[in-house]
Amino acid sequence: MSSAVFSTSAALGRPFVFDGEEMEEVCSKTSEAQLFSEGRPPQRVGSAAFKDKDAKLSGVQTASRLGVRPAPAMASSGIAEMDALTGGLPRGCLTEICGPASSGRTTLLLSALAAATRRGECCAIVDAGNALDPQSVAEAGVELGRLLWVRCGEESPEIQPELKGGPNGAKKNFAKSDSAEQRLEQFLRVTDLLLESGGFGLIALDLGDVPPQTARRISLTTWFRFRRAVEHTPTVLLAVERQSIAGSCSSLLIKLGTHRHRITQTADVKTPALGHAQLLTDLEITAEIVRSRMERKPAGSAEITFASKTAWAG
């Protein structure tokens, strides 16, 4: 599964030797030519004993000659500012979007889903918290027929009787609330099935409502498995969380936060405190790249702000 970088120096109990350093004994040009002629990569040797051992490790490449992994193809996130910051969402990689409540995580997620479905790709969202609002999904421009929604958790009535308030006023007892462990178990198994199925342009893992201490129960090996499952596929694996939990398995980690929310005065009234005189029109969201494998930028080197309008703002 995993590729390991093997150092000849470490194997032989010697300190690491870098490309530019002087060696005690450097093999002659003829021997180097011989090595080349045998189709082996050139090796540096320090002693006769080292030569013998080196012959056994002739197939091992030096770290400096390891091939560079090709940059992944990028898919648009649906937000121009975000694309300018990150270059898009990497395909075949895990991307994490984290932030607190009202930080714009779902807005970014739905924008990415809308962009993907507009491209004609099939998308799936594994909703651990059963928090997706279909009205928001439609307003974000997602083609609903191309989005598979998996709602984790137990069966529950679609219309909550507490809110019905009908003439009979009947109060039904809710089914016993499902445990976080059960939801997480479902979430992991569903994700595995979707990744195994393949063919999706974007698979979103929504852990936005799962408390960080519960989300951290997902082991790093699981995230590694997810990452390996999408590797070399055109699938964007997008995880939405409160805090980063996938560690080094994610290729891109974006941290979001609300800069400010804009309120529009809808009427010229004498008492501005009146609620109906005001309207929430847009949120300004700040995005920061915490980690990116695509561009080797230091953490926190880039930050942008973009606006998300409410559906009724026009």
Partner: protein
Amino acid sequence: MPFACIFVPNFSVAAVFRAEPELRARAVAIFEGKPPLEKVFAMNESASRAGITPGMTKAQAELCSELTLRPRSPLQESAAHAALLDCAQSFSPCVEDAAANAAILDLAGMESLFGTLSEIARNLFHCTADLGLDANVAVASNPDAALLAARGFSGVTVIPRGKEAEQLGSLKVEVLFPAQEERTSEQKREAGRLPETLDRWGVRDLRALAALPEVALSERLGQEGLRLQQLARGTASRTLVPVEAPATFEEAVELEYPIVLLEPLAFLLNRLIEQICARLAARALNTQELRLTLELQNLTGADPESDTVGIPSESEAAKSATESQATSQQFVSGRQAKFCRTLRLPLPMLDAKLFLKLLQLDLNAHPPGAPIVKIHLIAEPVRPRSTQGGLFLPPSPEPEKLELTLARIAGLVGKSRVGSVELLDTHRAEGFRLRRFVPGAAPETKHKKSATEEKSAVAALRMFRPPLRANVTWENGELAGVVCTKKKEVQGSVLWKAGPWRSSGDWWEREAWARDEWDIALQSNEGVALYRLVHDLLGGGWFVEGTYD
């Protein structure tokens, strides 16, 4: 004009072997009749060698220890007959249903499609073998000669034009008289008399019969004698009576002992599905609907409509039929209950493994609840899908793989919790439903946007399901604070609010609703967060419905 005939010798045994291939290596006898007068009706060669003869009572046959006895199954025989016709139909559109165990094909014009006559005969032989039947195949210039050759010669026989009398001459006279199971009532009357007469005359083979003088033969045996002589000479001529092959693909198996576990059921289902898939493949058809009927052991003392037996009632099945891909039905006939499951597929498919897995998942989710004594499977045939994925279109999940994945996910989270969203024409909260996810069936958007076109992001709402009951505090007639006991982080002082936005609906129904919505910003320990606060005007409670995120 060439004709081919497919003939299955010892048809009752062949039908049993088709359903239970593992019996081929054993001595098998088929019995029929009402207990205790059951008699052996047919047997294979191994059973004959062991001394079993037709007409033996079941009790006598049971004395043979290595003998396997099976009751005669009209269901299996009709399925084998249908398979025979399917095989014939896959080579020629003009097929005569000559008998339960014989089909005659008109091969005129088929040589350009399927090769020479001998190649067609060989392919017919292999095709019937693939369908689980050991058949004889013969090709001749007239239908009756082909039928006689198929009855008399085992394997593949091709009789060149003009050589019929020569080739058929070596056959015994008995081939002119079909076996008991193939005879019509008229033939049965003649059957006893004519062979005896010919035997007395010393006519043992068709060559001898063909050599008899026609006038003398007609004086003694009448028109029937002349007809038999024409058959023996291979000169009988008639037109085929083509049949329209029935478009029903059904297989059934009756069990000697009731099945209690799903694992052995899957084993039997696999066999039935493979047989149906082979028949569909022979006719170049796929299926989009599989109907499984399980006959259950009598449920004496159990109320069929109660939940105790684990079978969904008819009303429940009808209720769920609109939303679920697999529907169930259960009814009681006499003392035996039938449990039905219908598996509807989004696209025409033909994958036995997939069908088996889907049925297994469905039965796991909806177990029959009683021992199974009979399995009946029907596939609705449809033409295969002919669309091909575009070279430059984005990839989408393979339909077969996706169907299996969706079934597995439905098994994990429930059928009503997986699918694609369909918004309902209502302003009610949660005004949506989930429908089956079929990527190919996604409707085109009215105003098609280019893939590169991007609109500004729309602030999304994250729902709390169920909504969080909130305690609201007021100061000077203004909303001042919100506290949710169930979710500690949703509490704090109201920094800002917009609303109320009033909506109501369905007042003409029992499910009436009326509510005021507020958009509020709460200052909590974690920072400022925006929420949607709802006041249920009919119920009187306050709820935090979701957060803007």
